[in-house]
Amino acid sequence: MKYRFVKRRQEVSTEEINSLRDFDLVLKGSRRLLDIAYKSKLLWTLTIPVAVVVYTLAVNQPAVEEPVQEEQPIQEEVLDKSSEQKEEIIQEEQPKVEEPKTVVSTPPKKESDRSQVPDPLESKFQQPAEEIETSSELLKEDILIKAAPKMGFEKFYQFIDRELTYPELARKDSIQGHVKVLFSVDRAGKVSNITIAESLGDLFDNEAIRVMNRLPDWNPATFNGEPVSSRMSIKLTFKIK
């Protein structure tokens, strides 16, 4: 979830809010939802008996066809093969048909789906898969600009790669993984308060802290164009080369 930080939201008076009231819209919306629900129920009510009739006919079909099959054994073989082929095709097609069903649950629900309120909220807090909004759409003073290395991220990662060395004493145990480090970037851009959030053992943690202590200055985070202190995290990966 992306947040848009504002110092204070624009005040709205009670009169202004009351002027936005429209109970007729609520009645219309509710009727529309009930109408959708009614139509879909009706569709099901009609579909189920039709499906039952079709199924019954399909089940009874072999009994009707039996005498014909006895009289025409050659045709039976042909029919059987074609029905086998059909079955195979259907089986192949089934996953293709099911695929969209699983996808349907992910994108935002349609009006009629959402009408099943109130659902548990877990799904509602899922993060959007894509980028939410371009920063150009926001007022500059409303956004937080994160702290970033003065040298730029590319050179910063090169610096980490160059500095971070695999602890020799750990080599015999072939440990690999990452250390998650939290650190503060103060208003002056100095890196401080380095703490380990996810440890890989003392040897690795110490090496991570050593490298973090050598980090050159950062550009501090800014809010409303003013520098603010911020807390950052980074994962330092240790691999045996």
């Binding site: 504002v6 009645l27 959402r114 099943q116 909220l121 509602k124 980028e131 985070a221």
Partner: protein
């Protein structure tokens, strides 16, 4: 509110809800009563008047359309509206690819500062580092803080609105506060 009056209000509300099942127009009393708080709740997250108006409207028409499914759990009817409102807001963020608005000034709320047990010198650090700190919070954690401290909801209501248990709401809120306190101490 005096408990006798509160009971009467709840009884009135239940009566209106029952009547609304037969005559939707009766729902206007609920609409008038809760329109402003729900609108403000939505607006504080959305930050746009027009979109907040639409979302608030959909909260009420969905509540009305499904009023027969509403189960009284001993909470105010408004909890159900808040629960729908939270859902609607997050649907909006996802569908419209919008940011969730966070007003930093709210986070200087006295109750929240008391709960955080910040020293005087830490309050300035809290204020200055708020965007960075809040950005690390999961949406649900942010909702927990805002519902509890800005909307003054009980943990039972908070849990109901967010679809978690009362205990979970309580534990999670204090865990988040603890983490925030630690972060501020780290910065000081």
């Amino acid at each position: 509110m005096d408990s006798k009056i509160a009971n009467e209000v709840a009884l009135d509300e239940r009566l209106i809800i029952e009547q609304s099942k037969k005559d939707p127009k009766r729902f206007s009393a609920i609409y008038e009563k809760y329109h402003e708080p729900i609108f403000r709740f939505v607006y504080s997250r959305i930050g746009q008047l027009e979109a907040s108006k639409d979302i608030t409207s959909s909260v009420f028409y969905k509540a009305l359309a499904h009023i027969r499914k509403y189960k009284d759990q001993g909470l105010s009817f408004s909890s159900w509206l808040y629960r729908i409102a939270v859902n609607e807001c997050y649907d909006f963020f996802r569908a419209q690819k919008k940011y969730r608005t966070v007003a930093l000034e709210d986070y200087m709320h006295a109750d929240l500062l008391d709960e955080l047990q910040l020293e005087e010198n830490e309050k300035e650090i809290w204020m200055n580092s708020l965007p960075g700190l809040l950005e690390t919070l999961e949406p649900k954690d942010l909702e927990l803080i805002e519902l509890r401290f800005f909307e003054a909801k009980s943990f039972r209501e908070v849990g109901y609105i967010l679809g978690i248990t009362e205990n979970n709401a309580k534990t999670r809120t204090y865990r988040v506060l603890g983490r925030m306190r630690k972060e501020v101490r780290n910065l000081s």
